[in-house]
């Protein structure tokens, strides 16, 4: 294959059901969602020649390739940083297709993150913190009782919330809106189960006085896959092609995915600011060109800080933006229209990437009108998806 620059597009999306107990192996979830993405695109899985996942995905490329009958794999890679990898997989797949290295790149993330192990509970295995996953500084948290993602996130959010006078009640508006989206999404775990601000305020403290239960994403079982190919090839496939207008990572100095306390200003997410700067420079687009956004919502403060980092509002203004309906379906910027990781499921951000694709295709259950560009962000990485 001659290595000439090729525009990249997302041609297929696939998912398993989202549950709390899948009843089957993570590898099977991976195989099922991968097959679904290929079928969505109308591509024979034997033709996949690139595979990308997260460093912490437990399934081997080879094991999955053997399930799918992949004929000849040309490229594999894995992204560190836990859920920060979500949009980074798209950036990687884009680069590989741009470079002419692969025809069909499969991205997957599949896990039994509720029935088999739980991210939200105290760790039972400390070896994951010692390196290779971009989370090495968690070592410095564990002996002090900061043992869960919520505790690490609360330490990040505290300085931001304190500086701008954002209360836990203010965060509730994010949850209420996302559960409203989930309530009309049949795929969402919280389908038909919206919440009120009072429900949010009555939920128990997870991290006092910052985060309550309903500020936290779910723990879920399930798998999500994307199939990336050239824009030219995507035009001949089953679905409307979704162009990867731009995609990038940003990991500024002294920033780390979650034990992120060592950079200068804890009231901002420098990684999201860096992603925004790089993405806008790469695409020539800006906040005004984007009609919907899928923002990594492990915890509600992350949504606010990303809204600010990507320039949808000024510093410290995101809580008011959300309170005034800014992220609602008729707001300035509908956000996490599938319900997000809070409302739909926690498939490590990949289900939000898939919703970005649906919004561009016009296939979301909570479809935003007149979409031309959608931002998908996992904090340390982002992509702008657009119509072809």
């Amino acid at each position: 294959m001659p290595r000439t620059f090729k525009e990249a597009a997302i041609a297929g999306i696939g998912a398993t059901e989202f549950s709390k107990a899948s009843g089957r192996s993570e590898l099977q979830l991976a195989a099922e969602c991968a097959l679904a993405a290929c079928q969505d695109a109308g591509v024979d899985p034997h033709e996949i020649d690139g595979m990308i996942t997260f460093t912490i995905d437990n399934s081997d490329e080879i094991g999955l390739a053997r399930c799918l009958g992949v004929k000849d794999l040309a490229y594999t890679t894995r992204i560190p940083g836990g859920g920060a990898a979500a949009a980074a997989t798209i950036a990687q797949a884009m680069a590989v297709v741009n470079a002419g290295l692969c025809k069909y790149v499969l991205i997957w993330r599949a896990m039994n993150e509720r029935s088999q192990y739980r991210f939200g509970q105290n760790p039972t295995n400390l070896s994951g913190y010692t390196g290779g996953h971009g989370t090495g500084s968690l070592l410095w948290c564990i002996p002090f009782g900061a043992m869960t993602p919520a505790s690490w996130a609360a330490l990040q959010a505290a300085r931001y919330m304190h500086t701008y006078g954002i209360t836990n009640r203010d965060l509730g508006y994010v949850s209420v809106q996302q559960r409203k989206y989930a309530a009309t999404n049949p795929k969402a775990w919280f389908y038909q189960r919206p919440i009120t601000l009072e429900d949010h305020q009555n939920s128990k403290w997870i991290q006092e006085p910052w985060l309550r239960l309903l500020d936290c994403c779910q723990e879920s079982d399930g798998g999500v896959a994307l199939l990336v190919t050239s824009l030219e090839r995507a035009r001949d496939l089953k679905q409307p092609p979704v162009r990867i207008v731009g995609a990038c990572q940003s990991i500024p100095y002294n920033v780390e995915v979650i034990s992120n306390y060592y950079h200068d200003d804890l009231t901002v997410m420098p990684e999201a600011i860096g992603t925004a700067r790089r993405l806008y420079a790469q695409t020539g687009l800006g906040p005004a060109d984007i009609q919907a956004a899928m923002l990594y919502d492990a915890f509600t403060p992350h949504v606010l800080m990303q809204l600010e980092a990507f320039g949808f509002c000024g510093k410290g203004e995101a809580a008011e933006f959300v309170k005034r309906g800014g992220i609602a379906i008729d707001g300035r910027l509908p956000v996490n229209t599938h319900g997000g990781l809070i409302g739909e499921a926690y498939i490590h951000g990949m289900n939000s990437m898939a919703e970005g694709v649906r919004q561009v295709r016009g296939q979301s259950v909570n479809q935003v009108k007149n979409v031309t560009h959608v931002l998908v962000s996992s904090g340390m990485a982002g992509a702008i998806l657009g119509k072809a």
Partner: protein, 144 residues
């Protein structure tokens, strides 16, 4: 009744011992001796935390392990209510401490009730025991 049952049993520390990496061993070894030390560059004199083999400013490999003042302020804090962190009988106050030397570390604030916690509280170092006979630096309120 034996004589030993008259004295209350000494409760063993339940806090998880630090996970020691080669480049941070000096820090934890010093903590075991109740000394609070940090990494300073032997060439440009700047502090770095967490410890690392190379100075990110001048790329020197000369690491100096120097005593830190042990004074700082609370830059961020939280009380992990659920799940109760392993090894703690009561929910601790976890905090990001801004040290006088311009570096930050995650630790605990002890000797203060959660309802009395405020941002930028001045604190100073003290030590608490862990499982396996180690110690970790934690912080208590100090006069301004």
């Amino acid at each position: 009744m034996t004589a030993s049952s008259d004295t209350p049993p000494v409760s063993k520390p339940t806090r998880i011992a630090p996970i020691v990496t080669p480049d941070a061993k000096f820090f934890w070894d010093a903590a075991d001796r109740e000394q609070f030390v940090g990494q300073k560059c032997g060439d440009c004199g700047r502090f770095t935390f967490p410890p690392r083999p190379m100075c990110p400013f001048c790329h020197s490999l000369k690491r100096q392990e120097v005593p830190l003042s042990g004074r700082g302020t609370v830059h961020a804090w939280t009380v992990p209510r659920h799940p109760q962190p392993f090894g703690f009988k009561e929910a601790p106050i976890v905090a990001v401490i801004q040290l006088e030397e311009g570096i930050r570390m995650v630790s605990n604030v002890v000797g203060i009730a959660p309802e009395d916690m405020v941002m930028d509280l001045p604190v100073e170092v003290t030590f608490e025991p862990t499982m396996n006979n180690h110690k970790v630096p934690v912080f208590k309120p100090r006069a301004r």
